[in-house]
């Protein structure tokens, strides 16, 4: 399998705050990569760097052989058609109805008729477990519904690469599993490569081909979920077992 996304020595800081400090990560074609890490460790920043919303201060991001930081304007815009992205906060357009949100890229980039797009939007909404809400406005939805509408929008164009920022946060356990199944389905039936960020370990083990842990601006371990579960790295161990005591919370720990 070839590499679809490669991050090489990526650095990013905001003002004086260093968020990423030499991050390296490879995602293979057709693979589902899950990144875990503490709150505020820079996972969402990582995702925005992959799709070119943020520029790294240093280092390279290579997607399908092209260096994304070297693209600009229209080329970058077109390049982004390869991606679908689910934002952590949903980021639905609140001036558009639910079906217009889901069908947004289709409305903008295809010549399909309104009826066809609406039908496609309904189909995607059905995939995330939502029916009969096509004409509602985003402000009329619950938090979990917004998240799922945003997910439907991300998958609407059936892109090559999907970026999911905490897809199951804020959902009930059954709906969370529906979303897990959906992510697996997207991967298997359409051979989509994906990068998922999550805090939900159950979901991570279910959807991950490989998992990576982000800590202090670097990926400290990558591997198949089974390998991470029996890790000898105390930091990774503390994180995936979700324990309050360990090197992450111990200020005196020597790294």
């Amino acid at each position: 399998m070839d590499t679809i996304i490669e991050l090489i020595d990526v650095h990013k800081s905001f003002n004086t705050k260093q968020v990423l400090r030499g991050l390296n990560l490879k995602i293979l074609r057709g693979e589902s990569m899950v990144v875990v890490g503490g709150s505020g460790s820079g996972k969402s920043v990582l995702m925005k760097i992959v799709i070119g919303l943020l520029k790294p201060d240093m280092g390279k991001v290579i997607v399908e052989g092209e260096e994304i930081n070297k693209l600009s304007g229209r080329n970058l815009n077109n390049f982004r058609k390869k991606f679908g992205m689910l934002f952590q906060g949903g980021a639905l357009f609140d001036s558009l109805s639910v079906w217009e949100n889901v069908g947004f890229a289709l409305l903008e980039h295809t010549d399909l008729s309104k009826e066809e797009i609406r039908a496609k939007a309904s189909e995607k909404l059905d995939m995330v477990g939502l029916q009969g809400i096509e004409d509602l406005m985003p402000s009329e939805l619950s938090g979990g519904m917004k998240k799922r509408v945003a997910l439907a929008r991300a998958i609407a164009m059936e892109p090559d690469i999907l970026l999911y920022d905490e897809p199951t946060t804020g959902l009930d356990p059954i709906m969370a599993d529906v979303i897990n199944e959906l992510i697996l389905h997207m991967k298997k039936s359409l051979n989509i490569s994906s990068l998922t960020i999550t805090h939900d370990m159950k979901s991570a083990y279910k959807i991950a081909d490989r998992m990576a842990m982000l800590f202090e601006g670097r990926i400290i371990q990558v591997g198949i979920p089974e390998k991470l579960q029996i890790t000898s790295n105390p930091i990774v161990y503390q994180f995936i077992t979700g324990s309050a005591r360990g090197p992450i919370t111990d200020k005196n720990y020597q790294r």
């Binding site: 982004r80 992205m85 934002f87």
Partner: protein, 270 residues
Amino acid sequence: MKIKEKLTSTDQKGKRSILEDIGRFFYTFLSEAGEIFILLCQAFFWLFRAPLKWKITLKQMGEVGVNSVPVTLITATFTGMVLALQSYIGFKRFNAETMVGTVVALSMVRELGPVLTGLIVAGRAGSEMAAELGTMKVTEQIDALYTLAVDPIHYLIVPRILAGIIMLPVLTILADFIGIAGGYLLSIKVLKANPVIYMRRTFDHMELSDIYIGLLKSSCFGLIISTVGCHKGLSTEGGAEGVGKATTGAVVLSSMLILISDYILTALLF
């Protein structure tokens, strides 16, 4: 000795911080002016690079134009009336009351129509643009547009700037007309002027150039209002507080720029 040392050091410190403040002010002013200019250039390129978003442009024309009609009407009526009243009081002192019509018409068409409409629309529509785009920015909707391969300049900014340029002159024509009508009604009904003479005075000294200089000015004001509103919106940072700041910032900056450019344009065009 020690006290003297202390004094000089605070003195230097005081001086430096004033210089620093001035420097910082000019720095932010210039960099903001630069950003606005770049935004304008980008919008200009997108205007020719891709087909215009007609539906959104029409919607924005409604937001800027149609929704501003009531406030424009009220402002223009009272401005016309107060102009008539004031110039009547003044001209009566040297028996030139018949000139009231001329003064009302020329002031409305050349100056007050465009400027007052500009200021009112800056407060109504400019702030609305900044608030809407600012909210989109802080809730990552602008980022979401990028990820869907849609450029926000093309999708959001071009329609708003066009709406400003097109709708401000339309509102100004309305304001001119209503202002003159307000002055006319006040003069005839309250000040008992002769309607025929008043009408003649109104139109005798007006030239076509007066009207289109006014409209040209208002078009520039429309450009200022929407470009500043969009810029403030897109550069919003930091949640609800940031949106509030962007909104006030847009109104203050565009009002200032309207008054400054009003002087420059008037001096240049006449």
